[in-house]
Symmetry: C2
DNA sequence: ACCAAATACTTGACGCTACAAGTATTAGCC
DNA sequence: GGCTAATACTTGTAGCGTCAAGTATTTGGT
């Protein structure tokens, strides 16, 4: 336990603003999706990952990795999505321990219907207030932070993580 | 419902990275604080706000605003903190409808003890991987996003929002 | 071939947050 | 002054995420 290096005024200001965005952004996305599509952001994200996977199918473990969820959480969420007919479970033929989550036709319809409103919200809240240079800076900075938070780049820059 | 303006490749990359940080950062802060201090990030933040307020006291409504919480959520959290002896409730003398949340001596001790570890985590995950120019860019970009998410700047740049 | 360990989930219980409804007090209006 | 509306919370309920434990299947020795 060495001496604490406190934040400078500039660092503190940037940090406070980042943390404010981290607190506020999820709620904004959540509200819009819930209101317009009846989906939580995590549900939307899960369906989106499946929609881009080969055969619209992923093993639970792979899906959990891409959505940054625990297997337990994903299992509960997939159960709910299954009850609503948006996803279907299949036992994996190659490895009977494993479960494949498959996007149903209804699930595809739901995610396709939800996407435009979601993208519009993303544009309004994040992208459109920024200049092209800002976007480049944001990309660079978030990349540096992710090198620490997610060194193996499991969540981003892996296949099938489009939003 | 006009045509959707989809994200360009650059925008999409920056967005995906931002959302990854938004998903991963809270968990990182949460784990460290819980492990080292037995506090959730929200509890820590609540105590920190109180610690910087005059008389270490704030009305519930004001505290809720600064922590970006609903009154209901804050009420539950303060109840728990009260049970642990970190916060005390007082009826406001001027307005008997209102409740003041007051940081106790034990609460002060807890937040002071938790701060160094928290700041170290913030440094390691966010500040230190960035150059000074990055920090300035981050500050500017988050400011622009906050103009949309929090137009009245209630959460940031209001008094008593240091972290 | 067999058995222990590892893997891939699933399930149940508990804690936290949002939402809805309720209580107490104050402010505004006539 | 008295009545209504607004304010400032508090409390109960339901839903979602986490953690711990359990089940089923496969892998890796021996």
């Amino acid at each position: 336990m060495t001496d604490t290096r406190w934040l400078t005024a500039d660092e503190l200001r940037a940090w406070k603003r980042l943390i404010a965005v981290v607190e506020l952004l999820p709620g904004t996305l959540e509200s819009q999706l819930q209101r317009d599509s009846g989906l939580s952001h995590f549900e939307y994200f899960t369906l989106a990952m499946l929609s881009e996977a080969p055969d619209r199918t992923l093993r639970m473990t792979a899906l959990a990795t891409h959505t940054n969820a625990t297997l337990a959480r994903l299992s509960h969420v997939v159960s709910r999505l299954e009850k609503r007919g948006l996803v279907r479970r299949e036992v994996c033929a190659q490895d009977r321990r494993a479960t494949n989550a498959v996007l149903t036709a209804a699930g595809w319809t739901a995610v396709v219907a939800a996407a435009p409103g979601h993208v519009r919200t993303v544009r309004e809240t994040v992208i459109d207030p920024l200049t092209a240079a800002d976007v480049a800076d944001l990309d660079r900075i978030m990349g540096r932070i992710l090198d620490v938070l997610d060194p193996t780049h499991v969540m981003v820059d892996a296949p099938g993580t489009d939003d």
